[in-house]
Amino acid sequence: MTSLAERALDAAVRHATYLIFAAVLLWFGLQSPVFLMPESLANIVKQSSFIGIAAIGMTFVLLTGGIDLSVGSVMFLAALIAGMVMRALDLPVPAGMVVALLTGVVLGLINAFFIVVLRVIPFIVTLATLFLFRGFGIWLTSSTQFDFPPAMRAFGLSSILGVPLPIVVFAAFALMAHVVLAHTTFGRQVYAFGNDPEAARKSGVKIAWVQARVYVISSACAAVAGFVLIAQIGRLDAGFGEGREFDVIAAAVLGGASLMGGSGTALGAVMGATLIQTVKMGLVFTGVNLYLQPILQGAIIFLAVLADGLRNTRMRSRLRRTIRTVEPASGPAGRRI
């Protein structure tokens, strides 16, 4: 039987991200108690909503063993199209958000078409659409900054029952994604697909449909993420969202999603995004050199990925078949024939 120490180590490895999160909070809290005040914590959640919402969508894709590099460009293009439609049709901001979401769905369908129908690998498809979507967006704006109607910022800075809007959207998406992944047939099939697509097909799962949907979800989430952030800023420039795909993937992986597929949760992505933001804010609070902050962030991501690897190695070694039961050390072991 496993010893107590071993089980404790097991638990630690399994919940490494939570432990790292707790340690980070504690560390910064000790450095600067203001950091743990409700306002600053709420601010962290608000700031993490942008990457967080996109990371929730990315988790779906990573669960299937795929990757979506186009999210940064989708953030930009969807927010832009929503703004243009809003301005042209004089739409209210919530309707604009729906437009952004629909744009995300369409862009996701483009990715899904190449991946599912033409069977090009996700890395290449989304690398290509990363360029395509951004190029299209810049063409639409003629490389100039795009200003949203003033109602946009009012919306972005509003709050519902005292909760800032970005947090409301973030929470709503997290909840929806959690329910879909954990409590619907589609959600469970996403996990099955990531574990073994061929077995999923044989088990009667419509795998093309499952795979297509995750890319649509990822793009839709990225689109809303972009819109929510832009709503707080009120304008959009050509570099918006550039390079964010890596932040989004890092947040999802930090939250326990594996790049090999089959493991990860929506709430994990929320935590991953929040953890990254906590570190960022903490570094600001404690006055660490601005230029050194990314290094510490990188170190934390590294730790989380390392913990994930250790977790998998431990799982695998436990699965190794035992041929003989290992008898207690006392007496000649199993030598009766």
């Binding site: 041929i323 003989r324 039961t325």
Partner: protein, 499 residues
């Protein structure tokens, strides 16, 4: 009794080559049909037709008296036919209950009705006497338990016909017993079983009827009472055992090559000792899960061992496979596809992989292409690999037998002292098998030593000088060629430890 499944004149051609031809077979409702045949006899094609994976070119199937032509695996499942394969279709990251319901969960208020899912799963598991929590992840189950989950899946889909395809290859002896009890229970419920296996004793024990396939045809069938193992083998092979193995051309010499002394790894092997001599072919027999492949991996340095010593030509071996290869070991694994070959690479590249170092010129290891291609070409000729241009043709385009020759050939090029062959004829057709046996004899005659692991007892008695038997991680006995007896070997292999 009525027939649940009838096959009439079923035929499948692959580019004009028949895999199954004009096959007519009845499966009686509630009975167990044992289906046997050599690799390549057409069993998998037949199963794929029943399972809706491939469509027959001619003939028809009747399922419960109605014409049956499944277009997909889902169709077969919907009709009530379930397959339990050697490689299970389970999701290790999902729970037992989720594995049962993955193609569609019952819903309540739009969401999965977990209470119903778990209650129903518990019910099915109870019928199989599998005492695990439906919420437990399948990744935490043993191979035997996973097999039962696969059966639970079949029961959940209300399968009436369960087709077991080599279900015991990854089970321990005890898990196998449990599976057989379950099969008996399934039959008691009135379900029909088709049992496919190379372990003829199991097939006889479970079946009411036996059907033998050879070259895509049904060559023999009858009730089990009239079907002794000898008749099974004769029908499968199409001739008597005599000509199946080449004669041994050399005798073992006294000088030991491999000496294993008390090798122990907790949970895997216990106190294994053996000596293998120059020119000797030593057979290692054991059921799946007896530790034979694990012992091979330990000897080759792929897996660790805690106690004991391994000596090659009297010298202790360095750790890890690379040191052991340099010391003169070769290892043909049981998993040709994932561990033996680079399927996409050319035959020549595969052949040269182990002995590349010999063709490098210092300082940067520049390869001498002429010398290399001359050697690979020579190896190909010696092995009689049937292929086109070996520098271009990928091994994936070769037949199983020729692929295996390439695996053996790549080791032979490094001129090793000791060959460890794990299931060297798995997935190899009868004709190529003979060539591989002859190759093994040549390796020994040239002064090498061969440790040959197999789950086919006949092939060991046909080729080995001596056979050791493994059971639950221990060597439980050994016999010299003169004393070979299937009965004694099998009784050692099957003996259950009281524990």
């Amino acid at each position: 009794m009525t027939d649940i499944l009838t096959l009439e004149g079923l035929t499948k051609d692959w580019f004009g080559v028949p895999a199954v031809s004009d096959l007519t077979l009845r499966v009686r409702q509630g009975a167990c049909l044992g289906l046997i045949g050599q690799n390549g006899a057409g069993k998998s094609t037949l199963m794929n037709m029943i399972g809706g994976i491939v469509a027959p070119t001619a003939g028809r199937m009747l399922w419960r008296g109605q014409p049956y032509s499944p277009a997909s695996a889902a169709d077969a499942a919907a009709a009530g036919i379930a397959f339990i394969h050697q490689e299970l279709n389970l999701f290790s990251n999902l729970s037992v209950a989720e594995n049962l319901y993955i193609d569609g969960f019952p819903r309540r208020l739009g969401l999965i009705d977990w209470r119903r899912v778990h209650a129903r799963t518990r019910e099915i598991l109870a019928r199989l006497s599998l005492d695990v929590d439906p919420r437990l992840s399948v990744g935490n189950l043993s191979p035997g338990e996973r097999q039962l989950v696969e059966i639970a899946k079949a029961l959940h889909n209300e399968a009436q016909l369960l087709i077991f395809d080599e279900p015991t290859t990854s089970l321990t002896a005890r898990e196998t017993e449990r599976l057989f009890d379950t099969i008996a229970a399934l039959r008691a419920e009135g379900r029909t079983i088709v049992y496919i296996s190379h372990i003829l004793g199991d097939v006889r024990r479970l079946s009411d009827d036996i059907a033998v396939l050879r070259d895509g045809r049904l060559v023999d069938e009858g009730p089990v009472d009239a079907f002794p193992v000898t008749r099974m083998i004769r029908s499968m092979i199409g001739r008597d055992l005599g000509g199946l193995y080449p004669p041994r051309t050399a005798a073992p010499r006294p000088r030991p090559v491999l000496e294993v002394r008390g090798v122990t790894q907790p949970g895997v092997v216990e106190d294994v000792s053996l000596t293998l001599h120059e020119g000797e072919v030593l057979g290692l027999f054991g059921l799946m899960g007896s530790g034979r492949s694990e012992l091979a991996r330990i000897l080759f340095g792929l897996d660790p061992h805690q106690g004991g010593q391994i000596l090659l030509d009297g010298a202790p071996l360095p750790a890890g496979p690379r040191g052991r290869i340099r010391a003169g070991m070769a290892f043909v694994t049981e998993n040709r596809r994932d561990e033996g070959l680079m399927m996409e690479a050319s035959i020549a590249d595969n052949l040269s992989l182990v002995s590349l170092r010999e063709f490098g010129r210092r300082p940067v290891g520049l390869i001498d292409p002429q010398a290399l291609s001359a050697r690979t070409e020579a190896a190909r000729t010696e092995l009689a690999v049937k292929a086109g241009d070996i520098a271009v043709q990928p091994v994936k385009a070769l037949s199983g037998g020729n692929q295996q020759k390439v695996v053996i050939g790549k080791w032979q090029m490094s001129a090793p002292r000791l060959f460890i062959l794990d299931e060297p004829t798995r997935g190899v057709d009868v004709g190529a098998k003979y060539e591989i046996y002859a190759l093994i004899d040549r390796l020994a005659a040239a002064g090498g030593a061969v440790l040959m692991i197999s789950s086919e007892l006949e092939e060991l008695t046909g080729t080995a000088d001596r056979i050791l038997v493994m059971n639950r991680g221990e060597i439980v006995g050994g016999l010299d060629r003169a004393a070979f007896s299937d009965e004694r070997i099998l009784s050692m292999a099957f003996r259950e430890d009281a524990a």
